[in-house]
């Protein structure tokens, strides 16, 4: 099967918009988690997040269109544009029937929805924008991006909690591998920094309430882990076959060579503490990439900073890699800007590709006392290292395990 190349990267994150600004902030190991300023969240148990304040500066979207969509679609449009620019693609020159979109997100467009629902209860049904129906649902960004660029090919939106965008990228890889399309915009977007979405995340019980010290609140794999911190943004990449990328004479950032996906099937929220099915997803991804465990140099961790999640993730890595587990470099860079939920896998993949390009592994922030032990964590500061082949682990509530393999171009 032909290799699938990443030829363009579009990133919209709390730690930067566009690959250059994003990487500069990631490699410096700075925290971008702050108190939420978009609305008064002071009465929520957790009221810190990775928030994006300058979206409009990067947007070409007209005001007329903007009022019809939620922030998560807006972020998807900006990330798509950045990815296409990065790939040097003029989409009007492509056959629209052979271009697709594969995006993932977990919660939909709640900022739009809750504003309109409030109006419904205050003003009655006439107070609700007629765009509500098409703005909030999880596939709305796929629709908006396809309309904006006139994309007509086979496309999908995948909802699989925090593993959504990894699943979307995995299925995009499979689809390109069958020669069904010429290129795919793949990734995810999430906008949970809204009153209702934040409330739901709080109710779930997994958020850190260390509001007094936002920068040190998210501490995956640290002994003092206290839960995760939500973040908003989008990560979208241009994927195409290696042959097509070579024919265009474009720069290839990396190859996506493996995808493995399993379910725990044990609990509505928590993962299987043994990590058995995550281990199987890792093995499936490695088999898909035709790699063995000795060839992996780096693992990008899901790192929810909750006891059962971090422990089962470490257990899965140890069970697959055996004695090598203590040598392979691992890190969880999202500790710097927060967990983008359904978009987190795409952003982790982008970070790993940039890490490969710059021979530098971004750190896990706040990792002072590793727990569990036995993994080779890159903590506190970025570490120079050559990465040729890496794994990206993404997991979702209800026991969704999704693993991607990425290889240096």
């Amino acid at each position: 099967m032909e290799k699938i190349a990443v030829t363009g990267i579009g990133i919209v994150a709390p730690s930067g918009i566009g690959r250059r600004q994003f990487w500069a902030n990631i490699k410096s190991g700075r925290s971008f988690i702050k108190k939420i300023t978009r609305f008064d969240s002071s009465l929520y148990p957790a009221h810190i997040a990775g928030q994006i304040d300058e979206l409009d500066k990067y947007s070409n979207v007209s005001e007329r269109l903007l009022k019809k969509m939620d922030t998560f679609s807006h972020m998807a449009l900006i990330a798509s544009e950045l990815a296409l620019q990065d790939a040097g693609i003029d989409i009007k020159q492509e056959d629209p029937n052979l271009v697709g979109i594969f995006l993932g997100n977990a919660i939909g467009g709640w900022l739009y929805a809750e504003t309109e629902l409030r109006d419904m209860y205050i003003e009655g049904r006439e107070g609700v924008s007629p765009y509500m129906a098409s703005a909030w649902f999880p596939a709305a960004p796929q629709g908006q991006v396809s309309i904006y660029y006139g994309i007509k090919g086979f496309s999908k939106t995948i909802v699989a909690d925090r593993a959504s965008s990894s699943e979307a990228i995995g299925y995009a890889k499979k689809t390109l591998g069958k020669n069904k399309l010429n290129l795919i915009l793949a990734g995810g977007m999430e906008a949970p920094v809204s009153p209702y979405a934040l409330l739901c995340c709080n109710t779930y019980g997994g958020l850190s309430v260390n509001n007094g010290h936002p920068e040190s609140a998210y501490r995956p794999f640290d002994k003092k882990k206290s839960g995760f911190v939500i973040a908003e943004g989008a990560g979208i990449m241009v994927l195409e076959s290696e042959k097509k990328a070579h024919a265009r004479g474009t720069n290839i950032n990396a190859y996506i060579t493996g995808f493995g996906s399993t379910c725990d099937g044990v609990d509505r929220i928590n993962p299987d503490p043994s990590g058995v099915q995550l281990a199987r997803a890792i093995k499936l991804a490695l088999a898909d990439a035709k790699l063995n465990i000795d060839q992996i140099d780096y693992v990008s961790l899901d790192g929810l900073a909750m006891e059962v999640w971090d422990k089962s993730e470490a257990a899965a890595i140890k069970s697959v890699f055996g004695s090598r587990a203590k040598d392979i470099l691992v890190s969880c860079p999202k500790s710097m800007f927060g967990n983008l939920l359904g978009a987190s896998g795409a952003v982790d993949l982008i970070i790993t590709i940039l890490a490969m390009e710059h021979n530098l592994i971004p750190p896990t922030l706040n990792l002072n006392q590793p727990d569990p032990l036995g993994l080779n964590y890159v903590a506190l500061e970025a570490k120079p290292a050559v990465i040729n082949k890496a794994l990206i682990i993404s997991r979702g509530r209800g026991g969704i395990n999704s693993v991607l393999v990425v290889e240096r171009a």
Binding site: S62, E63, R64, K67, K68, E126, S129, P130, Y131, S134
Partner: protein
């Protein structure tokens, strides 16, 4: 303010367009690209502006500003 000016003001505010883009005798779909969802919003805004009710087919995206003016004037007794 005359009915027609008020109608145009509603359209400008709702659709974030410039007043000069609106031509009195070209229908809303062809002239300023109003789609069916924007039309729902437009009808609700016009009903509020003129304190009246508009039937589902009295005004459509294929109506011109001149035609909308006529319908509204007949409703408000102008």
């Amino acid at each position: 303010m005359e009915t027609k000016e008020k109608i145009k003001e509603v359209l400008v505010k709702l659709l974030k367009i410039k007043p000069e883009e609106i031509k009195d005798d070209i229908n809303l779909a062809d002239g300023i690209g109003v789609d069916s969802t924007e039309m729902v919003e437009t009808v609700i805004a016009l009903e509020k502006e003129f304190s009246t009710k508009l039937g589902p087919k009295e005004i459509t995206k294929f109506s011109t500003v001149n035609e909308i003016e006529k319908v509204i004037n007949s409703k408000i007794g102008k």
